[in-house]
């Protein structure tokens, strides 16, 4: 290796940037060339000299600032939903509390309305019981009456049917409920409730045309003695 090549590589030699072969070649030249050796020593002494320069550590305040930034960043990350909800607009706390109360009140009201509606529906949907069950009742109850009702059906045809009406004791929401049953002449069951005015309402004639809501007027009551 000649002086030109060596001078190019002296810095790399001092900085440990040469591979073993290059290092050997440069060092060999430095043994035999005093000019290049002088340059190497000059560079080496400069590196040593620069190490004299020491700077003071940063102020302790910097440590606090950096750690505070870390804590702040990760604290805000933990409550990410707050950023999502309140990131773009700010809701004052009293307004938020008011909205919350209104929402709860609305829910409570809806629940109460639903409760009343469900009671009405259950009242208007009497269960169908077979006639066979009626004779099965004990004589002591004596709640079975026989009534003759006039039921207007399809094509204004008046059909008179004898149905059995049984008062049924039930809860307070169903106190006016009466089940009406009939299977006369092998007709299918139908049921109804009796309103306070003496009319049957919500008569459901299953399989007995028309099976729509109709009203039926009691035209004759048959006492137990007359049966």
């Amino acid at each position: 290796m000649n002086c030109i090549e060596t001078k190019k590589n002296i810095e790399a030699l001092l900085d440990n940037e040469l591979d073993d072969a290059q290092k050997d070649a440069v060092e060999h030249h430095l043994w035999v060339c005093s000019d290049c050796c002088e340059l190497r020593e000059q560079m080496s002494s400069l590196s040593s000299l620069l190490q004299v320069s020491q700077i003071a550590s940063p102020a302790a305040e910097l440590d606090k600032r950096v750690m505070k930034s870390f804590q702040k960043h990760h604290a805000s990350s933990r409550i990410w939903w707050r950023r999502v909800v309140f990131g773009t607009f700010v809701v004052p706390k009293p307004a938020f509390a008011m909205l919350l109360i209104l929402a709860l009140a609305g829910l409570w009201t809806a629940f109460q309305i639903g409760k009343i509606s469900s009671a009405t529906i259950s009242t208007a949907s009497p269960s169908i019981q077979t006639v066979n069950e009626i004779p099965a009742q004990t004589p002591a109850e004596k709640t079975v009456q026989t009534v003759i009702v006039e039921v207007p059906v399809v094509k204004e045809k008046i059909v008179t049917r004898t149905i059995y009406v049984r008062e049924q004791k039930s809860n307070k929401n169903e106190k006016n409920k009466t089940f009406v049953n009939s299977r006369q002449n092998n007709l299918p069951l139908y049921s109804s409730t009796v309103a306070d005015n003496g009319y049957f309402t919500d008569v459901s004639l299953k399989g007995f045309e028309p099976s729509a809501e109709i009203s039926a007027k009691i035209i004759k009551e048959v006492k137990d003695d007359e049966k």
Binding site: S34, C37, L50, V52, V66
Partner: protein, 196 residues
């Protein structure tokens, strides 16, 4: 530090592990601050930029890739960008960024009597003045090599420069410093004459 260890620590930092961040911070704080301080020669600015550098790590830890070098290289690269922005703003009125390579070197003011500057403190001050007087592009490579002890390749990564450019800037910086600090250096001739 082992790159895998650094990657694990950075992963923990991303998950909010304060102990891991504390370890990284105290490991690299002085080196990052030292680089910035030597570049800006202003303690307040150096502290602000050091803070910003670590905030980048806090907020965007995923920006660090093990394949692209050590964590120190990453931190120095972030610091370097901010330092250059600072210097650009500072010198914008006088010189453009392209002139950084040909920055005017301060004249040697204490060449007169080296005997009066024997104290290390004074020598250190002198060295700081000489380094601060280097053009920014030369200054950064000499600091990264001599004080941060980065390899040429790492310096090239930090400064986003070619390897050849790094070597050339380093050479010019050393020549300038050797000239300015010649009075304080031991005579190289003596050692060489001893050898030959």
């Amino acid at each position: 530090m082992n790159p895998n260890t650094e990657a694990n620590l950075v992963e923990k930092v991303a998950q909010g592990d304060e102990i891991a961040f504390d370890e990284i911070y105290h490991l690299y704080r002085n080196r990052v601050y030292g680089f910035i301080y030597r570049m800006t020669v202003n303690q307040a600015v150096a502290e602000d930029i050091t803070h910003e550098v670590f905030v980048v790590l806090i907020e965007n830890p995923k920006r660090y890739f093990t394949e692209r070098g050590s964590l120190l290289t990453f931190l120095c690269a972030v610091a370097r960008n901010r330092v250059m922005n600072h210097l650009r703003r500072k010198h914008n009125a006088d010189v453009g960024f392209d002139d950084f390579e040909n920055f005017d070197v301060l004249e040697d003011e204490t060449k007169s009597n080296p005997l009066t500057d024997l104290l290390n403190q004074e020598l250190a001050e002198r060295i700081d003045v000489c380094i601060a007087a280097l053009p920014p592009l030369q200054r950064e490579v000499i600091i990264l090599r001599e004080f941060q002890e980065l390899s040429y390749e790492e310096i090239a990564n930090v400064t986003e420069a070619e390897l050849g450019a790094v070597k050339a800037r380093l050479y010019r910086a050393r020549q300038t410093l050797a000239k300015q600090l010649a009075a304080y250096a031991t005579s190289p001739k003596d050692k060489c004459y001893e050898l030959h």
